[in-house]
Amino acid sequence: MKTHFILLLFVCLFAGIVKSQVADTVRVGNRNMMLAEKAYNEGISQYNESKFTESMQKFNEAISLRPNFVKAYYNRGVVKAEMDDYEGAMEDYKIALEAMPDFAMAHFARGKARMAQGDTQAAIKDFNGAIESNDRLYFAYYYRGVLFIQEGKYDEAIDDFTTAINIKADFAQAYHDRGSVRKLKGDLQAAIADYQQAVFLDPGMAHAYNNLGSVRLSMQQYSQAHEFFTTAINIMPGYEKALNNRAIANMKLGWYDIAMEDVGKVLEKSPDNYIALTTRGLIRYRTEDYQAAEDDFTLAIRLNPEYAPAWLNRGIAREMLRDPKGAKLDWEKAVSLGLIEAEEYL
């Protein structure tokens, strides 16, 4: 109904048609326009103060005073998106785009809304539209690159991040994400270079340090990994992912007690953190407490049955618990969840 109403409003009013059945004064370009513009500007001010409800009221007012106020529709969409009303936001963006098909920001904003809703393909189309309308819109390249990662299109993602960097040389996030893609492609040295450039441009990027640590873990450079995780934690105290990862580094360094301390901090705050439970299971496995390890993996699986590492690792623990059948079932499950290395164990 809401959609139909807005569509009707658009058909009837948006083209600038004002209907009156009486011979009252018909105003064109009159004071209402000024009031609409005033409300519009106030809406922006409210938004900038994070007063989203008030901001939306102002944009509503602007639109009622001037039904063809394209920017007001767009900005109201932005406010709605900020308030997680993505459907409402997309309706406003649609109105704006029908009035101005080359409205690059509206394409981009709708892409982000669709991205938030998990509609990757539609979001990519919108980012394409944004880039067609404005090929200097560096963040449209960036977000399209992010979606390409999700799609497994790593080369396309790298191209987009590189383009974004070429347009905006200090684009830390683009360096960071390009580093991640390179890591996924196994080009660890290039990943390190990108992550380092990201933290050079934005020293507060804790997750870049976390990822630098993760790369070092992959390279079995556990002491260096440990240092990066510690830096991430120093920047963002309580950063659970970095604490979890530092626990892994500690475990690899044979410092099991400290590893348990780190993962304990995570689980104290987030008892349902299935990744941390899996890490604790591994530490217990390493200390040959196979039963406790299996218990942790089982709990992790209960919390997230789709988390393949917990299945694979529980299989290994079960093997040590003399349960080869249970181990085989776990590895089969891990394979079905995409962890193909478990096939080697079957």
């Binding site: 004002v18 018909v26 891990a334």
Partner: protein, 706 residues
Amino acid sequence: MSGIKKIFHINFPCVKENLKRVTGSKMVFFFFLIIILPLESVSQNKEFNRTHFPDDRKALREARRNVRDGDRLFEQGGGNIDQALELYLKAYDFNPDNALLNMRIGECYLKTTRKDQAISYLERAVELNVATLRIYYLLGMAYQQNYRFDEAIEQYTFYRQSLTPQEAIQQRASIDRRIAECNHAKQLIKEPLRVFIDNMGSTVNSEYDDYSPVLSPDGKTMYFTSRRPIGRRPRTDKNDHKYFENIFITRKVGDRWSTAEPIDGRINTKTHEATAGIKPDGNTLFIYRGDKGGDIYESHFEKDRWKKPGKMARSLRSRGTQETSIAFTSDGTRVYFISDRPGGFGGKDIWTSDRNEKGRWSEPVNLGSMVNTEYDEESLYLAPDDITLYFSSKGHNSMGGFDIFKTVFRNGRWTRPENLGYPINSPGDDLFFVLGKEENTAFFSAKRQGNYGGSDVFMITFLGPEKPVKLPVAEDLSAASVRPPQINMMESEVEIVSVPMTILRGKIVDDATEEPLLAIIELYDNETEDLLAEFNSHPETGEYLISLPGGKNYAISAKAEDYLFHSENMNISESQVDREIINDIRMKKVEVGQSIVLRNIFFDTGAAELRPESYAELGILYKLMVDNPSLKIQISGHTDNVGSANLNQRLSERRARAVVDFLLERGVGNERLTYKGYGFDRPIATNETAEGRQMNRRTEFEIIEK
């Protein structure tokens, strides 16, 4: 080094002398004395005599008897060690501070599976200044057996350094061998095998030595050797005081092994019978018999029974030598066996012999120095592939005693034997390896802590290479989710401009009757073609009122049912703002002969191409034609009188034609449209003024047919 002060506790005169020899420095010796003397006062050896135990003569007597009997049993060794230990421990309860007794107890424990118990007694013997340097060798052994290899090396090294030159000649090689074993062990233990080692359990193993398993080809029957007693009056071997060896059988039922029983048939006798191998077809069992120096016999399985063992071929035997283990290739043309016959590298070696086409065995050949060592090789097993030979050896890189090795016959030679690794191998004796039917299983024998007694049979389950775990690394791969780029999503503010307004008002009436009309009024921005407003005149008065921003050109049209539409062009200049413009509209009925001036059709001067701002009005005309499908009209073009008549006539005709073409292109039938150019022949205003000339430059349509 932390254990040195306690362990190297020297007080006995001969030991002191040796120590001086070791250090080569009196200063160092005095330093040791200074460190050690305070401890010495609490570590006093107590002999079993009345001086130390003046009050309990009876208990003293019993303790001395236990020591004496224990010594006798200890010297006999073998199966009497447990009894000796029992007596020693009784004596120890009476007097725990006797150095020699502590050493003896430690030695006994070293000969049992409870090797971990040895260390504390041997260490105590050192503290009590036992009067023999051999204590350091024993302590080295105790440490080695208990995986304390660095301490073992320290003790062996100290012992070696304390030997006299003559002793060194005799013992140095064996001490160096022990040290080497410790170093091998340290390496092997760094990379333990992923295996489960399971004791075969009480259905198979006993409190006596159980060892040397051999398997039937289907893996469901195991023959092994046991020194448990059988029969009414079991006999012991006077050499080691253990029951004679006999062959036992156990069968696999489901996942379990049945209770072992003596093998049926005429295999076991009153002397030693031990399993020495089995042919790949499972129908010939090789048996070691201890008579005549120790030879291998063979028994055939016929009619559901094992027949009386017979001697092997003469060429495979050697007078006065011992053969203990044997294996045949699948086709039976080659045999490998253990023998201490002359011509080897030392102790028992592995030998081989081939059978020719006539069934005669060739002269046995030593497998060579790649496989055999100066130490004993023992208990061989040939894998079903016929080229992989498993055997035990005290040489190579053994970590102590016999270790199990593997060698493969490739390119005409045996590969360097590979230690099977820890924890299959240990610092103790590990022997009699055989593969199981399942690919990942094997069996062997060893004296391990927790055994049922003596040597036991174990099953190995190989887990293969370590399975890498999946590290649950947590990452934020995209900054978009955790630290997104700062993007100003809002469109910018607009500049609010105050626009001056003009009031346009008027009345719409019938041209003929002047009756007020209800008409639909549409207002367009001629520049943008945007429809700015659509509204009705008052139904009763025909009046309308609209406020407009100045400085723009507008098209205003009025439509009413049964009337021709009316169009006006309103160019409201900046000077007209804040003023009121009256514009009454007279509408004509749709009748033949009626004509309308199209006031919002625009051409460039002297040109006949329609300007875009004409499209709004043309759209209204088009809609009129669509709404009245029977209507036929003529479009006429008119000019002012500037220029030649001929030129104006042609221009007016081309302009009329342009309007007709617009309608034709949109589907209005050709038969409904005519056009004509009148040049300046039909002015509607004076050509003397600019305003008049503008009115004369016009396009009209006239209804030809309704």
